[in-house]
Symmetry: none
Subunit: 161 residues, 2 copies
């Protein structure tokens, strides 16, 4: 499966339009999906986005929960209820609805960040803060990771210093 990688900062114009990075678009297209599935992230002030495989994943997650349980009701409401399927116009842009923009604090520019199977939309300021925090924590987590990755060749611990 093709993965979303790298990050791109694009402008949001007065109409709320923003260009989806071309490389992300081609992954979505290969996924057989002519749009962007998008919802407010549950645990950060960002938007999660992806194609049909992301929808399937969330669907599968909900399937795993007890039918008619409160947890399942709440979660499906939180995920599918708040989500949107954004149309990609012929210039490769989507319109971000106000609700989504507010959740992520996105004003006049947005950062598209690939995280493998999906991507996220951040406000530049919040992304920068999150990025720095993540790097710091990851360095702390390295020991943990070495154990988790034992038997592998060590992509992270590597030959560094």
């Amino acid at each position: 499966m093709e993965r979303f990688v790298s990050s791109y900062t694009n402008k949001v114009d007065a109409k709320g339009r923003v260009s989806v990075p071309a490389s992300f678009r081609s992954i979505l297209a290969r996924d057989g999906f002519d749009g962007v599935f998008c919802y407010p992230s549950l645990d950060s002030q960002t938007l999660d986005a992806g194609g049909s495989s992301l929808i399937d994943e969330i669907h599968a997650l909900l399937e795993g929960l007890d039918p008619y349980s409160d947890e399942r009701d709440e979660l499906s409401l939180a995920l599918f209820g708040e989500s949107e399927i954004l149309k990609i116009d012929q210039d490769g842009r989507v319109v971000l609805p106000p609700r989504l923009r507010e959740h992520a604090g996105i004003a006049d520019s947005a950062v598209f960040v690939g995280v493998g199977h999906k991507f996220q939309l951040w406000s530049p300021e919040r992304f920068e803060a999150r990025r720095m925090g993540a790097r710091k924590r990851v360095v702390e987590l390295k020991k943990l990771l070495r154990n988790a990755a034992r038997g592998q060749t060590g992509a992270i611990g590597g030959a560094g210093t």
Copy 2:
């Protein structure tokens, strides 16, 4: 698996292009990947790079973590969000995006250093500094190795020089 060895210093031109050493290219090609997966190293001011096997390795590492955990989210952000898939043009060059160049302090030339399953990109100055530091540490490590390898043939501590 074929391994990246040796080091090469190549020029970075005005467009940010740099030739990937031919021997590295052929390894990548054998890996079935006509690009370079590249991200800022977590623990030094260098870039880590490799082919699809490196991507798979990182992906597998993330898969091994708790789904929906903060650790996993942060790690995928720090790894996939900051990495790039650099295309190799028909002359065997890649363009280094500003973000990556800044992290490694690479200006008008870059050192490609093979470290087995992956390779690294250094600024010449920083590489030299690290190399000197590494030599010092190696001398210290040799004592450790002598003890650990007592009774073996001593490929490292050996009777050399």
